[in-house]
C-alpha cells in the first residue's frame, strides 16, 4: 500500500515538474482533487526541488576527510620498516622505524606528512624543513638522515631517534638544583643559537620538543614549523599565513599569537617561558582558565608576575613541592630567584620583540654572568616604558583621556576668549593639565604600590583628587569632572560616569549660568550617556536644551551647532520616531548640513559626516536607494577632505558596506568590505577595533550569502579581537557573541548558538545595557526555539523581545514588527490561527507605515497573515493580501521562486475553498 502511494506521489511529482511552475497549481487542483494529503506531499517535493538545486552535487565531504584521518599501519618506507606509531603532531605522524640491511641495523624516527595537507602550506613547510634540517649539524639538535616520498606521494623525514624525557619532566624527576637547571638551559640556548645562525627559527619551542637523553644531553626536536629566515630580508620573517597557524599557546610569543612577523626573538620569548617554568615551577601567567583565547590574551596583555613571587601563587604543585624538586626550601628558592633571575626571565618575556634579549646567546650569557656573580644586563622595566605600555594596553581608554586633555585645554581656551583674563586663564589651563598628568604619574606602579595598575585605578584616584585638590578652582573642577565622566563612560563604567557628569553640569550651571556654552557641553555629554542607558526622553530634553543654548549663543554659523543637531537627529532615530516624525528629523539633518556647508564649503568633513548620517537615517527608513546615494556622495567628499589614508574614511566605508548589504547588493558589499579590511589592517594594525568592526560586517555579508562556516571563522576572529581590546565584559563583546551565534545557528548548530546568545544577554544584563540589541538577541533565541519546535520557549522569548523593543525603540518602531511577526509565526506553526492573527496584523501595520510598498518584508507578513485567515475560514480577507504579496514576491524573486510558488499554492487553495468549501484540513503548516 505504502509503496503504491509513494509511486502515485512520485508520478504526480514528475508530471508537475514537466509543467511550468505557474501551471502547477491548476494541474494539482485537478490531479489531487479530494485528496489534500496527496497534494501536500507533491507540493513539498516541488518545494524541495526548487530549494535543493545544488543538493548532492559535489562529492561527499567525508571522501576528503577520510584521507585526512587515514593512517599508515605497518608497512615499510624505503629501506625502513615501520615498527609502531610514536605520536602525531600538527602536520604528520611519527613512527618508530628500523633500517636493516647486511651492514647495520639502526632505529630511527620517521615523520610522515599527513596526507590531505599535501597541497597546502604545510607541504611547503615540510619540504623546507627537509632542506634546512639537512644543513643543521649540532650535537643538541636531532639529526636528519634521509627523506623521500611514500608510494602514494606523501613526503617523509627520517630523523635521529631520540630517547629521553621532556626537559621539565627530566629536571623534576632528577631533582636538579637551580644551578644544574641553568647549566642545562644554557646548552639549550646554544643549540637554538646555532639554528638561528643558520637562519632558522624554531617557532614551536616547548618542553615536549626539548628532550633530555639519559646522558643528560638536550636534543631539540621537531623543527616542524620552522621557516627559513630570508637573508635579504634581515631578521624579519614573512608573515605567517593566517590560514594555517600552528602553535602551542602556552609557549607562544605575543607576536605569534597576533599573527605578526616572527623572528628569532620569538624563540627567545619561548625560551623565557621554559626558563620561567624550570626555575619557578609555574607558568608566567596565572590564567585560571585553560581556554586558548584567555591564554592568548594573557600573553598579549598581561605582565608576567616575577618568578620569585609566582612561586607562592596558590596551586599545585605547592611551593614546598616545587622547592623540594630543586633540593631547597621555598623561602631560599624565592630569595635565589629574586633580583637577577627575575630580571633575566622577565627581559626574555617582554611583549615587544626588540626589548628582549637580542639572541638566545645573549640570554645564555646573562645567565652565565649571574652564575659568576657578575652584574647582569637585565634591568627592571623603566618608568617610561611602563607608561608607554599602559598607553598601549588601554588604548581605548586613553584615546578618551587624550580627548580629556584636549577638552580641558579647549575649555580653558574658551574661557580665555570670553574673559580675556589671559594670565590667570593660562594658569588654569596649566593647572588642569598638570592635574591630569599627575594622576597618571601617581598611577605608575613604581611611584605607587609596586603593583600593576589599571585604568580603573587611575580614574578612581583622579576622581578622589578632584574634590580634594581642586576645590579652590571650581571651573577647573567642573571641566575635569566632565572630562573624567566622559572617560568613565567610554570605558563602560556607567556608575562612576553618571555622578561626575551630573555634578559637572550642576557646577557649571552655578558658575556660568544656564545659558552658557559650558552648560550646553555638559548637557550634550550627559545626553550621550543617557541615550546609551536607554533614558531616551531625558536625553532628548537635555539635547533640546543644549541646542537652544547653542542657537542663542552661536547662531547658525558654528559647526558646534551642526554637531548638536546631528546628535539630536541620531537620538530621535534611535528613539524610533514614527514616519510622521520623519520630516522633523529630516529638518534637523538638513539644518546641520546647511550650517556645515556654510562654514566649510560644499566639500568639508562635517558636510560629508552629515550626508552619511542622513544616509543612515534613510537606511533606517528602509529607503535603500537614497541611503546608498547619500553614502556615495558623503564618501566621495570625505575622501577628498580627509585624504585616502584617514581611518574615519574606512569606518564610513565599512558602514557603507552594511548599507549595500541591507539593500541586497551582497557581491558589491563583500568586495568593498574586503578591500576596506585590507586598508584598515594596513593603516591601523591588525588588532584595531575598527578592523574587528569591518570583519563583523563582512561576516554578516558572507552570512547573508549562506556561507555560514566562512562567516563563523571571521566572527570568531573578530570576537577574539574585540575581547582582547575591550575586555571580556564589554558590550561590544556581547554584540560579537551575538553575531557568532547567528553564524552557528545558520549552520544548524543550535545548542552552541543558544549558549552564545545567552552569554551575550548575560553580559548586557550585568552591564545594565538591556538595549535594543538585547531585544534582537531575544528575538533570535525565539527563532531558534521555534525552528526546533520548542514553542513554549519560543513564545516566551518572543514576548520578551517584544517587551524589550517596545521599551527601547518605542511601541511603533519598525523593529517592533519583528517580534510581532515572530510570535505570529510561532502561533501559526502550532495551528493557533486566531492567536497568530493579531500579532501578524500589528506587524503588518507597523511595516506598512515604515517600509516602501514593494518591500519584500511586507510580502512575508502578508503571506502569513493571509494563511492565518484562510485557516480560520476567512479566505475573502486573505485574497487581497495574497495578491499584493504575490506581486511583490514576483518582482523581488522572479516568477519561479519557491516563495511565489507557496503563495500560488495558497491562492489556489482559496479559490478551491471559495468555490467548493472543504472541511478544514488539520495538517502541519509548511514553513
Amino acid at each position: 500500500m505504502e509503496t503504491e502511494r509513494w509511486h502515485e506521489v512520485d508520478r504526480l511529482f514528475e508530471e508537475a515538474l514537466d509543467r511550468p511552475p505557474a501551471e502547477r497549481p491548476v494541474f494539482l487542483d485537478a490531479a489531487c482533487a479530494g485528496d489534500p494529503a496527496l497534494r501536500w506531499e507533491v507540493e513539498r517535493l516541488l518545494a524541495a526541488d526548487a530549494e535543493g538545486a545544488g543538493f548532492l552535487e559535489g562529492p561527499p565531504d567525508e571522501l576528503l576527510r577520510l584521507t585526512l584521518d587515514d593512517r599508515e599501519d605497518g608497512g615499510s618506507l624505503g629501506a625502513y620498516r615501520l615498527l609502531r606509531r610514536i605520536g602525531s603532531g600538527g602536520m604528520g605522524t611519527v613512527y618508530l622505524a628500523r633500517r636493516e640491511d647486511e651492514h647495520y641495523q639502526r632505529d630511527v624516527a620517521i615523520k610522515v606528512l599527513r596526507s590531505g595537507l599535501a597541497t597546502t602550506e604545510a607541504f611547503h613547510r615540510f619540504i623546507a624543513e627537509r632542506q634546512i634540517l639537512a644543513h643543521l649539524d649540532h650535537p643538541n639538535i636531532a639529526r636528519l638522515y634521509d627523506g623521500g616520498s611514500t608510494a602514494d606521494g606523501r613526503p617523509y623525514l627520517v630523523m635521529e631517534l631520540v630517547e629521553g624525557l621532556p626537559v621539565d619532566e627530566y629536571c623534576d624527576r632528577h631533582r636538579l638544583t637551580l644551578d644544574q637547571r641553568l647549566d642545562l638551559f644554557q646548552k639549550i640556548c646554544a643549540a637554538v643559537q646555532h639554528a638561528h645562525q643558520n637562519l632558522l627559527v624554531h617557532r614551536d619551542l616547548k618542553p615536549a620538543n626539548i628532550l633530555i637523553t639519559p646522558e643528560g644531553e638536550p636534543k631539540l626536536l621537531d623543527f616542524g614549523i620552522a621557516k627559513r629566515l630570508a637573508p635579504e630580508a634581515g631578521v624579519t620573517l614573512q608573515k605567517t599565513c593566517a590560514g594555517l597557524r600552528l602553535l602551542t599557546p602556552r609557549y607562544a610569543s605575543p607576536e605569534q599569537v597576533r599573527g605578526d612577523a616572527i623572528t628569532t626573538a620569538s624563540d627567545v620569548y619561548s625560551l623565557g617561558v621554559i626558563l620561567y617554568e624550570l626555575l619557578a615551577g609555574r607558568s608566567p601567567y596565572a590564567a585560571s582558565a585553560e581556554l586558548p583565547y584567555e591564554i592568548e590574551r594573557s600573553i598579549c596583555e598581561q605582565e608576567p608576575q616575577r618568578p620569585s613571587a609566582a612561586l607562592f601563587r596558590p596551586g599545585t604543585p605547592s611551593a614546598e613541592d616545587i622547592a623540594l624538586a630543586r633540593r631547597t626550601r621555598p623561602q631560599a628558592l624565592a630569595s635565589r630567584l629574586r633580583g637577577d633571575l627575575d630580571n633575566i626571565v622577565l627581559t626574555a618575556l617582554r611583549k615587544e620583540p626588540r626589548r628582549r634579549y637580542g639572541s638566545a646567546a645573549q640570554l645564555a650569557q646573562d645567565l652565565e654572568r649571574h652564575l659568576q656573580d657578575l652584574p647582569v644586563t637585565a634591568r627592571p622595566d623603566t618608568l617610561r616604558y611602563r607608561t608607554r605600555k599602559f598607553v598601549r594596553r588601554h588604548r581605548a581608554g586613553l584615546a578618551a583621556t587624550v580627548v580629556v586633555i584636549l577638552l580641558v585645554a579647549g575649555f580653558v581656551a574658551s574661557l580665555v576668549a570670553q574673559r580675556r583674563q589671559l594670565a590667570q586663564e593660562r594658569d588654569k589651563a596649566r593647572y588642569a593639565l598638570t592635574f591630569l598628568v599627575d594622576t597618571f604619574k601617581q598611577a605608575d606602579p613604581y611611584q605607587a604600590r609596586g603593583e600593576r595598575v589599571t585604568a580603573r585605578e587611575i580614574l578612581d584616584q583622579g576622581t578622589a583628587r578632584i574634590s580634594r585638590e581642586l576645590a579652590g578652582e571650581p571651573d577647573v573642577q567642573a571641566a575635569v569632572m566632565d572630562a573624567l565622566g566622559e572617560v568613565n563612560f567610554s570605558l563602560g563604567r556607567y556608575d562612576q560616569a553618571e555622578p561626575l557628569l551630573t555634578r559637572a553640569l550642576a557646577l557649571r550651571r552655578q558658575l556660568f549660568g544656564s545659558d552658557s556654552l559650558e552648560v550646553a557641553e555638559s548637557l550634550e555629554h550627559l545626553a550621550a550617556f543617557q541615550s546609551r542607558r536607554s533614558s531616551l526622553e531625558r536625553a532628548e530634553s537635555n539635547l533640546r536644551e543644549a541646542l537652544a543654548i547653542r542657537r542663542r549663543r552661536q547662531g547658525s554659523g558654528d559647526l558646534a551647532v551642526a554637531r548638536t543637531l546631528q546628535q539630536l537627529g541620531d537620538l530621535l532615530v534611535l528613539q524610533g520616531a514614527t514616519p510622521e516624525d520623519t520630516s522633523g528629523i529630516e529638518a534637523l539633518f538638513r539644518e546641520a548640513l546647511a550650517i556645515a556647508r556654510r562654514v566649510e564649503g560644499p566639500e568639508g568633513p562635517t558636510v560629508a559626516e552629515t550626508l552619511i548620517k542622513l544616509g543612515s537615517f534613510r537606511l533606517e527608513q528602509g529607503k535603500y536607494t537614497e541611503a546608498e546615494r547619500l553614502y556615495r556622495e558623503g564618501l566621495a567628499i570625505e575622501r577628498k577632505a580627509l585624504g585616502s589614508r584617514d581611518p574615519r574614511l574606512y569606518r564610513d566605508q565599512s558602514n557603507f558596506g552594511n548599507v549595500l548589504a541591507v539593500a541586497g547588493k551582497l557581491g558589491e558589499a563583500e568586495a568593498l568590505l574586503r578591500s576596506c579590511l585590507e586598508e584598515q589592517r594596513e593603516i591601523l594594525g591588525r588588532g584595531h577595533p575598527d578592523v574587528a568592526e569591518t570583519m563583523q560586517t563582512l561576516a554578516a555579508v558572507i552570512h547573508y550569502q549562506e556561507r555560514c562556516r566562512e562567516a563563523e571563522a571571521l566572527s570568531r576572529e573578530a570576537l577574539t579581537l574585540v575581547r582582547s581590546y575591550y575586555g571580556p565584559r564589554h558590550r561590544r563583546v556581547a554584540t560579537s557573541l551575538h553575531n557568532l551565534g547567528t553564524d552557528l545557528a545558520c549552520q544548524g548548530r543550535y545548542p552552541e548558538a543558544t549558549v552564545l546568545f545567552n552569554q551575550s544577554l548575560e553580559i548586557r544584563r550585568q552591564n545594565g545595557e538591556e538595549d535594543a540589541l538585547a531585544g534582537r538577541t531575544l528575538l533570535l533565541l525565539a527563532e531558534l526555539h521555534r525552528s526546533q519546535k520548542n514553542y513554549a520557549q519560543a513564545l516566551d522569548f518572543g514576548h520578551r523581545a517584544l517587551e524589550n523593543l517596545e521599551k527601547t525603540r518605542g511601541p511603533d518602531h519598525s523593529e517592533v514588527a519583528w517580534p510581532l511577526y515572530e510570535i505570529g509565526r510561532s502561533y501559526l506553526e502550532q495551528n493557533r490561527f486566531e492567536e497568530a492573527e493579531p500579532y501578524l496584523r500589528r506587524s503588518l501595520e507597523i511595516r506598512l507605515r515604515w517600509l516602501e510598498p514593494d518591500n519584500i518584508e511586507l510580502a512575508k507578513v502578508q503571506y502569513l497573515l493571509a494563511k492565518s485567515l484562510v485557516r480560520q475560514g476567512r479566505s475573502g480577507e486573505a485574497k487581497p493580501l495574497l495578491q499584493k504579496a504575490r506581486t511583490t514576491a514576483v518582482a523581488f524573486y522572479g516568477p519561479d521562486h519557491v516563495a511565489v510558488q507557496r503563495i500560488d499554492v495558497l491562492l489556489a487553495e482559496i479559490l478551491n475553498l471559495q468555490s467548493r468549501p472543504l472541511p478544514r484540513a488539520s495538517r502541519p503548516i509548511p514553513s
Binding site: G58, P60, L63
Partner: protein, 191 residues
C-alpha cells in the same frame, strides 16, 4: 575464503540473493577501502576528487588481477557504489562519535581553509533516508549511489543501467528532491 567462493557468492548475488551480497561486501570491503584511501591521497585537490577513479581501479584489481567473475560490469559498478557509500557512512559515524570526545588539546591548529565550504549533507542521515528510498524505489536509490557516491555522470549511469540519459536525469531530479525533503523533515524534527 577463497576466490572461488567469492565468485560463487557473486553469482548468487547476481541472481538476486541479498545475503550473498552482504557477504561479498564483508569480503571486499577492506580491499576497496585501501584502494579508495590511496586513490584519494593521490588526488590533491578536493574539487577534482573522483570516486570513479576508485571504482575503476577496484574493477581492474578485483576483476583483472584476482580473476573474479562478475555478473556484469554494471553489477560491479552498482556494487562498488554501494560499497563506497558504506565506507563513507561508517566513517561519518566514527567521526560523529569522535566529535563528542575530549575538549581541550595542547595544540591549537587553526585551519581556516581546511575543507571546501559548500554544503555537504549529514551522511548518516542521508544514508538512512536513502535506505528508505531503496525500499520503495530501488532504481532511484541506485542512481543516487552511482551519482553521489561513485561520482558517475548521468550519461555513464545511463550506460550502466541501460536506460536513457533522459530517464536517469528525471529519476535523479526526483530522487534528490525526495531526499532533500526527507533530510529537512528529519532536521525539523530535531533528529
Amino acid at each position: 575464503m577463497t576466490e572461488e567462493t567469492i565468485t560463487q557468492l557473486l553469482a548468487r548475488w547476481g541472481s538476486g540473493d541479498q545475503e550473498a551480497a552482504e557477504r561479498v561486501l564483508a569480503l571486499v570491503y577492506p580491499e576497496l577501502r585501501r584502494i579508495a584511501a590511496r586513490q584519494l591521497r593521490r588526488e590533491r585537490d578536493a574539487h577534482t576528487l573522483q570516486a570513479t577513479a576508485i571504482v575503476n581501479e577496484a574493477y581492474m584489481r578485483l576483476v583483472g588481477q584476482h580473476g573474479l567473475e562478475w555478473p556484469s560490469r554494471s553489477h560491479f559498478f552498482a556494487f562498488s557504489a554501494h560499497l563506497i557509500r558504506r565506507i563513507l557512512v561508517d566513517y561519518a559515524r566514527r567521526r560523529n562519535r569522535a566529535k563528542r570526545g575530549g575538549l581541550s588539546e595542547q595544540i591549537t591548529l587553526v585551519e581556516v581553509a581546511d575543507l571546501p565550504v559548500e554544503k555537504s549533507p549529514d551522511l548518516v542521515a542521508l544514508d538512512e533516508a536513502l535506505s528508505g528510498l531503496e525500499k520503495v524505489d530501488p532504481r532511484k536509490a541506485t542512481v543516487v549511489e552511482l551519482k553521489f557516491f561513485a561520482g558517475l555522470t548521468l550519461d555513464e549511469i545511463a550506460e550502466q543501467l541501460r536506460i536513457s540519459p533522459e530517464t536517469v536525469s528525471r529519476e535523479w531530479r526526483r530522487a534528490r528532491a525526495w531526499l532533500y525533503k526527507a533530510l529537512q523533515t528529519r532536521a525539523a524534527n530535531g533528529a
